[in-house]
């Protein structure tokens, strides 16, 4: 009789356990020097569970299949000139922001999980981190491949890597990951694995990618959902890591709670960029940021934190503030980029009447009262040839690095300012959340590379705006400024005129 095939659980146990060993030439603590200084106590690494029970052989099989499907779509999109079928050329601007702001984070995640996998001494999390590290490398590669097709036609894409390390608003996502990667391996796992992947990544990849599909971008929705299939595994790793730490020792709870509070707020601030992409930059919007927040934070996060309450873990601090901000954040961010369009690597515009009406409908409590009148005034100023630019360099929040343009909780007409003093220096913050994070580790955040400070210190190519844009490698007049009047618009109108001509 043929031997009986092993079940999934047994297969997983055989292929992941018993593969490691106690070191003898060097003490284990010298081989794993980073897994104790954060104060996390682990009694039993073998209690780690990977519910996906994915072994390396199955991993290669599924990933290979996903890649084949994705590249078939990318080829078809390129062969059929899919770029001409998107809803409007304005759409391409979300890809510029995505490639310059998000894709390099995939690479950072790749490196971060490689590091965490190396430095956690349990074999279960090591295997899971190794797979995630490879996934993240796949994500950055597929995103670059996909968007490289758009780079043949649209501006603002070609210098994405150079820009990521220099351009003022890109320091927001960059510093988020730098912060996580310069923490210890457990904090990294809570920051990226739990807070980002589990609690917040849905907001980036699900409604936004669905929006890509709705705007005719078959290639982006395909890489987005292909990456997201890996994200489900990453989310599972994130929830596993938090349960594992909380089950291992009661002393871990206050440390983990502090990280959850910190990384929820950091993530919320970074995702403000996505809020703006969803509400303003998709020519055919699918779901408002506020609706997405309700589904993916209020509802999904509510279920999650109800579950974790059995360990004593609480809903992240300032979750209520973040929820209230969902009514404002996309509008306030779009206002910032509109004012600084001369220094941004993508185009801006004032929404047309239909889009304004959509926003009024989606934001009945705030849009007509606080934002629509401003947009209508700016549109009117454009008509009169007095398009509004803000020529001063903004003060930045020391923690999130976003210009200090956000308003007080409960008072959308007053800008929020917070500050802390350390060693005779004053540091400024956009919110209580950012101030708390700084106050928890002032020696870390006092060193932040703040773009505006760096410009004033003469480290960004020169003293004038053109000098700085040159240092960014921004192709002035093509990459920046309004969509109306841009080379992108001209090209799109030519394609469109061609289509009408061909149809007649």
């Amino acid at each position: 009789m043929a031997p009986k095939k092993l079940g999934l659980k047994q297969r997983y146990a055989h292929m992941t356990r018993g593969l490691d060993w106690e070191t003898s030439y060097q003490p284990m603590d010298a081989v794993y020097p980073f897994d104790s200084f954060e104060g996390i106590k682990i009694k039993d690494w073998s209690a780690w569970e990977d519910p996906f029970r994915l072994t390396m052989d199955a991993y290669w099989k599924f990933q290979g299949e996903k890649e084949r499907k994705l590249y078939a779509v990318l080829d078809a999109f390129a062969q059929n000139n899919g770029q001409t079928g998107i809803s409007d050329a304005r759409y391409a601007n979300v890809l510029k922001l995505f490639l310059t702001g998000v894709s390099p984070l995939e690479y950072q995640a790749h490196r971060g999980f490689a590091f965490a996998g190396r430095h956690l001494r349990g074999v279960g999390p090591r295997v899971a981190c190794q797979m995630q590290s490879l996934d993240e490398l796949r994500h950055v590669q597929t995103q670059i491949h996909t968007i490289s097709h758009y780079n043949k036609y649209f501006d603002g894409i070609s210098e994405f890597r150079h820009m990521h390390d220099r351009v003022w608003y890109l320091s927001v996502p960059k510093s988020f990951f730098d912060d996580a990667r310069s923490a210890g391996p457990f904090e990294y796992m809570i920051a990226i694995g739990f807070a980002f992947e589990y609690v917040l990544t849905n907001l980036l990849f699900v409604p936004f990618m669905s929006g890509a599909a709705y705007n005719g971008d078959m290639s982006t929705v395909t890489f987005g959902f292909s990456a997201q299939s890996d994200e489900s595994r990453h989310m599972t790793l994130g929830i596993e890591v938090i349960k594992f730490l909380l089950e291992q020792h009661p002393d871990n709870l206050p440390i983990v709670q502090k990280w959850v509070d910190k990384w929820f707020w950091r993530g919320h601030r970074v995702l403000g960029l996505v809020a703006m992409m969803m509400d303003y930059m998709l020519p055919k919007p699918v779901m408002s940021w506020k609706e997405a927040w309700e589904i993916y934070f209020t509802e999904a996060g509510g279920s999650l934190f109800t579950d974790l309450a059995r360990y004593g873990l609480k809903v992240p601090k300032y979750a209520d503030v973040a929820t209230a901000e969902a009514e404002h954040i996309s509008h306030q961010n779009w206002a910032i980029f509109y004012q600084y369009t001369h220094a941004a690597g993508f185009h801006t515009w004032m929404p047309d009447k239909a889009h304004l009406d959509w926003l009024s409908e989606k934001y009945p409590n705030t849009f007509d009262k606080y934002y629509r009148p401003r947009w209508e005034m700016w549109a009117e100023m454009e008509k009169q040839g007095k398009r509004f630019y803000n020529n001063a360099l903004p003060q930045l929040c020391q923690t999130c690095q976003i210009p200090m343009g956000y308003t007080e909780p409960g008072d959308p007409t007053t800008i929020a300012f917070r500050c802390s003093e350390v060693d005779g220096e004053t540091y400024h913050f956009c919110s209580d959340g950012c101030k708390d994070i700084f106050d928890g580790e002032p020696e870390k955040y006092a060193q932040s590379w703040l773009p505006v400070h760096q410009i004033f210190q003469g480290n960004c190519g020169g003293a004038t705006v053109p000098d700085v844009l040159n240092w960014y490698r921004m192709n002035v007049g093509a990459d920046n400024m309004d969509y109306v009047g841009s080379p992108d618009e001209k090209l799109w109108n030519e394609w469109h005129a061609g289509k009408v001509r061909d149809a007649v």
């Binding site: 079940g7 999934l8 659980k9 519910p51 996906f52 029970r53 994915l54 199955a58 599924f62 299949e65 996903k66 499907k69 849905n202 990849f205 699900v206 409604p207 990618m209 669905s210 929006g211 599909a213 709705y214 929705v221 959902f225 997201q228 299939s229 994200e231 489900s232 595994r233 989310m235 599972t236 929830i239 699918v286 779901m287 589904i295 509802e299 999904a300 509510g302 279920s303 999650l304 109800t306 579950d307 059995r310």
Partner: protein
């Protein structure tokens, strides 16, 4: 408030038998259609049974194959040879 177990799948031919199996096996499941994707929500627990998927698909199917059409999920996962379950029950 009930805790919501949830799965989001691609809206394509490969996922259709799985979506149908979920609708058949999970009374009270709620469906949110989005361009390119479908989100299925149910209070407390959502189950995908291997046998139900195979019945619709007409071939053998391993729950791990769900990775090819999976977009997102919520709930504690329990996966084995004959089921893929998301649950908030303990």
């Amino acid at each position: 408030m009930a805790q919501i177990a949830s799965i989001t799948l691609l809206h394509n031919d490969d996922a259709r038998p799985i979506i149908e199996a979920i609708l058949a096996d999970n009374p009270g499941v709620r469906v949110l259609n989005m361009p390119g994707a479908v989100k299925l929500d149910r209070d407390d627990e959502l189950v995908i049974n291997r046998a139900s998927v195979e019945e619709r698909l007409g071939r053998s199917w391993e729950p791990q194959e769900i990775q090819l059409v999976l977009i997102s999920m919520a709930g504690n996962l329990d996966e084995d040879d004959d089921h893929f379950t998301l649950s908030w029950k303990h």
